[in-house]
Symmetry: D2
Subunit: 204 residues, 4 copies
């Protein structure tokens, strides 16, 4: 009798002039917890437009997860942002960590213009807010790697017909990276972000 | 042999359509801690332009504190903001909790245009940031009750010649009030705000 | 020999607590100009989630325009925002002018998740900026009526196979509505918005 | 019979990575207009913390103006901002155009903590808004050269007992500098800024 839920949670390494990325920290803390009833896999993806989706597709093919929760940093946001839609478009404001610059290219040539998240976005956001965690629905995951891996995972779920629940969560900056850096930005305590991610996995 | 530092820490009750005020919570938590070497007094001031300064002057006259740290909520700010200057001006965007509306009046008729904080603002901000707490120097405490009590305390320090160290700290919203309310805003964990206030008292 | 380009330009009536809508003013000024080589039709759509798409579909069916440029106000934006994508989702933060409240409904049941604009978005934005008009590409037209009519027009273009060029332009507030209202916001001179719209029509 | 009002209007040269400064353009257009009843002097000040106040004091001593209106650019502001207070503090976020970096120094050692503007700030702001020009009262002119020249002029007015009306107006960016630059920001048409400055001079 199969009762185990396979879940994949990913974050990203630091990018640009940031020296840390809270999503990598969340992923390592998630990996260190007990998850009864879950078979949990985690990964920290490189900020490289060619390597990241390849790594992600390998993980998806190997684990065939029921739940895919992708995390990314969005400096400037004030709350956890659960993304509603991934679009088939890449357009970088600056280079990724490997120096790649992409302008107006599809994530997957010939793919549909967009996929909607398959997590119950509205229910999750309302629940987290009731629990005191600032959270919002977002309707744009941008056109950088966050949107790219989100679209990639949703395309895999669509093509594989595995009925996986796929979501993307943007996080605010962590207090430490804001405090020690040159520019202020809204932040959220890592413990609260971690709490939010746990609750999303439980609800998904 | 006198070795005790008398300190007064105040917050405000909730105002406008806010149902809680993190500065009141910080003050009650500060009051519940042990403060070896300190004789610590705390108060939660009403958001009433006539009652608040009267209450504050009473407290100052009774305790003659060496350190005065006033706290106030500034929804929208992303970091702890240590104010540098209090100006002799009241101008309300809306009514206070007692319904008073003030436009273009001095805090204290005949007082100087402004006083600078007498806490070591720059040193405190740099220390807190090194400790991972997002903090900034602010050059405007507004023209509402926060500025009013700040000016009132600095005027008292100036007139009494007691050489007190007086400062005002604006805080971001607390996560819970943001999560449960209608409008998102940057927030900071109460524990981090509390930590910041403790360190300011130690450094002052 | 057919050399006339049929173009449809629409704006919206004021909505919510706004007393004017610059897109309605732009549309009436556009309509009053000479457009050699163009057969230009204009309309001001009501902010009613049931009436607006019906009116728009009527206009599209009657005129079969080669170019469709839809305009909408986005208070808070700092530049003309040419939208890149319309999503098949309605979710209102508040009621429309007829009191309708929609949560998590598709624009067109069974339609694809999204359509991309068929105007040359990047080229237009770069040209307008070179001409001194602050302009940006936007990747979210929201989930209110702006997104709804944009999706509706793109769906029509897709289904009708008429190869129309369809775009949506969000505008900042106009100076007068900001100056006279209670809340400040970025604004742009009507003349500059009008200029931008003219150039888009010429380039489309 | 003396009926001429002597007025001095100054702007600043471009600073930092900006290639133009709308206040310099406004000053040159103001200088090119007829001003019946006024003896109008204008100057564009260098963004040099040592040269700018020296130049300004020379102009004040030579012309003994009845009205002093100082202009400065504040990229990011959405409206004309008439400053209410100048503080006796310099603290630069970066170097001025001559490479000077100042931290926590007074504008004038021994001067009072602040001076209030001597223009009728509230009346002007309300009038301009009624005329459709987005305008606000600001309570912080910062701690860079704008605040420095504002404090310098108010100190001169106080010491000279000439009863001059002194004000400082911060302007948004001009559309062209936003459109052609890398970062978007709110902007205002030069004509509207110019109009605002004219009206301020007439009302002062």
């Amino acid at each position: 009798m199969e009762t185990t839920t396979r879940a994949l949670v990913t974050g990203f390494e630091p990018f640009g002039d940031e020296t840390l990325n809270p999503t990598a920290q969340i992923v390592s803390q998630i990996a260190a917890c007990d998850w009864p009833g879950f078979d949990l896999q985690t990964a920290v993806l490189p900020v490289d437009t060619y390597v990241a989706p390849t790594r992600l597709r390998d993980l998806l093919a190997r684990y065939e997860p029921h739940i895919v929760l992708l995390l990314g940093l969005a400096r400037g946001r004030v709350a956890l942002s659960l993304e509603r839609v991934a679009i088939n478009l890449l357009n970088f404001a600056g280079p990724d960590n490997a120096g790649n610059r992409i302008q107006d290219q599809p994530v997957i040539p010939g793919g549909p213009a967009a996929y909607f998240a398959t997590l119950p976005v509205r229910e999750i956001v309302e629940r987290l807010r009731k629990e005191g965690i600032p959270t919002e629905v977002s309707y744009s995951a941008g056109t950088f790697l966050c949107n790219q891996v989100f679209y990639t995972a949703l395309h895999w779920a669509d093509q594989s017909r595995l009925d996986a629940r796929v979501g993307f969560l943007h996080t605010p900056a962590a207090p430490a990276q804001v405090a020690l850096g040159d520019r202020l930005a809204p932040s959220m305590a890592l413990e609260m972000m971690l709490n939010g991610v746990r609750r999303i996995l439980e609800m998904a």
